[in-house]
Amino acid sequence: MINRKEQPVIKKIESVDFLAPKKLKITPKVSLFHTKNVKDETTRFDLYFDAGKVKAENGIASFVNGLILSGTKEKTSVQINNDINGLGGFYESGVSIENAVISMHCLRENILPIFDTIIDAIKNANFPEKEVTEYFSDSKQRMKINSEKVSYLAQKKFQKLLFANNDKYSSTLSLEDYDKVSVEDLKEFHKKNYLKGLTKVVVVGNVEQNKITHLAESCSQFIADDGATFSSELKNHSTEERIEKKGAIQSAIRVGRTLFNKNHPDYLDFLVLNTILGDYFGSRLMSNIREDKGYTYGIGSMISELQKTGYFIVATEVGHEVKDATLQEIKNEFKRLQDEIVAEEELQLVKNYMLGQLLKSADGPYAMMDLYLSAEIHGKNLNFYNKAIESIQAISSERIKELAVKYLDWKEMSVVVVG
């Protein structure tokens, strides 16, 4: 008879195989990172630009990013898209507070012509009036739709409080912005932040060296004259704000504060604390607020990193009638971590879980590249993750309590409730 009552013996993860991409310097400051070790036909390339939202007012950074393929003197947006789609490429672009990125997924046999199409579109983008008008109208409509979502409204409000001491970081798009921005503004931003704004190139895929060299050479024309500068002095406004939304049957809650990134000595240990609190299915917040009380479909906490700093956030959507009860429970969970020592059993579980997830984050060339980039952006190499393994294995319950006292003080938090 097999023993169904007892868990089979588990084996610990002692080490993880991390594989760094090849680094090809385009200039002393800007590099192309390439992972060649892909066994199938897939490939991806990303172009990073110093063209994040902090670089301009009135949503200009978002507009330029969204309109980057809108046409050149020679080609319309329809032709550009047709050239990409015709070769089976999947285009994506995105803009965050500090960065803009243009990404392409395609088969490796098509990487060169697709890449050349993208480079030409970026280089010669001339923002045709008709395309801009259409984009603004679509984008406004999307914004109106989003504004019906409590989660969107809460996130916007939270960003205001989180970066309260820096207008560039706290500013979010508003409907008025569409009337304030001209085609000239877009062109100027494009010239400054794309034509002279490239900060990094990433390629994953079994692509031949001569093609990689071509990519690097083509990109060299866009390189920024000087390095990007970002704020390291962000500080949240500790207060609570509530927004009523008529008819909402759920409320969105955000609780958080500015914190730090991988460069802070407490980062790795705080990661363990954060996991215990809200970063896995069995976390304190999930166990209490979802699995015990049934207030929500999901609740989680995370650390989000910026170039020079970072922040901590708890986010959830709960039944309208239990929003205050939920806030109280989040507060209680912070308090418990400050007052009580985490039991050895729970700590061991979280350690094993985190190591398993790290192993998974390094599984496969695409995941491995993302893991590498998340260290590289903070000036670290893959040794950071070996340190992470040691630090996760070594952390004590006392240390977790100490960090909870230091960083999870409710008085330091910005709290937003919408709904």
Binding site: I2, R4, K5, Q7, P8, V9, I10, K11, I13, V16, K39, D40, E41, T42, S77, V78, N81, N82, N85, G86, G88, F90, C106, L107, N110, S137, D138, Q141, R142, I145, E148, K149, K246, A248, I249, Q250, Y280, F281, G282, R290, E291, D292, K293, G294, Y295, T296, Y297, E317, V318, Q348, L349, N352, Y353, L355, G356, L359, K360, A362, D363, G364
Partner: protein, 415 residues
């Protein structure tokens, strides 16, 4: 080419093994042949609620998640109208923990009142979060019963109404388990850096003694052929008018399935597709438009949906849309157009097969359809499609009397 081995245990459990020597992770994927289509109309949302209960402890193990997390793993599950699928991903050296957990909950659940009570409220919050508290969130709750009159695809997996979830009793839960959760009604797929003999030994050890149970021989009423155009307008406090045209199409195993998928790509997959170019870029009638198929096992839907530009009427859109649909029925696709679509299909297929979890889930799904090896034939099925095939299927599907149209009319916002 995705290689796999297949073996069947004496109790009827079908097992697939996919070897991947490059990954340090193991995948244990369990597909149960039960979905929202197996519910009765008076008790909808049950398959999905049940999926939640599968995490509330099993007969010998009080907690599902903790031991898996202790082993460095994680898991999740999803329910569709056709199936319920559970997966565990964990470091390969600890695969036995996943087999221990999964086999125990196949054997029997703990059936605690607390678990039922909590998951009822969690699912009700999910209902609110995803279907009620989102602009356009309830569209599928309206469109399904418009397109299906008899077949259980007429309700969404979350259920027809919250009350059905509130009313679920422990007796219902137990009966549901007994009927659907057993080796004869499941497909287990293991993937990772293992050898076949090792997998056979482990699977036999943990699953060999589970009673076979009954295969789910479902007797679902077939949806009668739609012979009349249907239209419904709902008014909601949303910023923009939206439209959903749903056309009846063939089931998953019909050769026309892949052709219909390709047809939907031609109409509205991306910014080079016909509807996007014509209705958005040229005529400026819509702010967004897309076309896709639902991909269900039984007779499905090809859907064209989008949002109107301000000052454009549903009527104007309707005229322009049907003109495009008539065009694709009248004239064969150009070679170039088809080549573009096929290139995109090839790229997405390659990416879908990237991760070991994806491969395990897809193998399970194809095995349910009759043969896991169909995963390796899919590309050929697409690549041999001709412009003539697409024209024929367009003529067959894109008919007014096979169409159900849902219009979401924006109410003036007084807030």
């Amino acid at each position: 080419m995705i290689k796999y081995e297949k073996f069947i245990l004496e109790n009827g459990l079908k097992v697939l093994f996919h070897q991947d020597t490059t990954t340090p992770m193991a995948v244990v994927n369990t597909l149960y042949n039960v979905g929202a289509r197996d519910e009765t109309e008076e008790q909808t949302g049950f398959a999905h609620l049940f999926e939640h209960l599968m995490f509330g402890g099993s007969v010998n193990i009080s907690d599902f998640d903790k031991p898996l997390q202790l082993a460095g793993g994680e898991n999740n599950a999803f329910t569709s109208n056709d199936i319920t699928n559970y997966y565990d991903v964990l470091p390969k050296q600890n695969i036995e923990t996943a087999l221990w957990l999964e086999s125990d909950r196949m054997l029997s659940l703990a059936f605690t009142d607390k678990s039922l009570e909590t998951q009822r409220s969690v699912v009700i919050e999910e209902f609110k979060q995803r279907y009620l508290n989102q602009p356009y969130g309830d569209v599928w709750l309206e469109l399904r019963p418009l397109a299906y009159k008899v077949h259980p695809y007429k309700w969404a997996t979350i259920g027809k109404e919250i009350k059905h979830i509130e009313d679920a009793s422990m007796d219902d839960v137990k009966a549901f388990f007994k009927k659907f959760y057993c080796p004869s009604n499941a497909i287990l797929t293991i993937a990772g850096n293992f050898e076949l003999e090792e997998v056979k030994k482990l699977v036999n050890k943990w699953y060999g003694d589970i009673p076979a149970g009954q295969k789910n021989d479902r007797n679902i009423p077939k949806e009668p052929e739609q012979k009349e155009y249907r239209e419904k307008t709902i008014e909601r406090e949303v910023p923009t008018n939206a439209f959903y045209y749903a056309f009846k199409m063939k089931n998953r195993l019909n050769p026309d399935f892949y052709i219909s998928d390709t047809l939907s790509d031609a109409l509205g997959r991306d910014k080079s597709s016909r509807l996007y170019i014509s209705l958005k870029k040229e005529q400026q009638l819509v702010s967004s438009i897309g076309a896709y198929i639902m991909g269900t096992i039984e007779d499905g839907l090809l859907v064209i949906s989008g949002k109107l530009n301000d000052n454009i009427s549903f009527k104007e859109l309707d005229v322009a849309l049907w003109k495009e649909l008539d065009e694709i029925k009248k004239k064969e696709l150009e070679e170039n157009e088809l080549k573009r679509i096929m290139n995109k299909i090839r790229t997405s297929k390659e990416f879908q097969e990237q991760g070991v979890l994806n491969r395990a889930m897809n193998l399970s799904m194809f095995e349910l359809l009759g043969d896991a090896n169909m995963i390796n034939e899919e590309s050929t099925s697409y690549q041999r499609i001709t412009p003539k095939d697409i024209q024929r299927v367009a003529k067959d599907i894109l008919q007014k009397e096979k169409c159900s149209l849902l219009k979401v009319k924006a109410l003036p916002n007084d807030k």
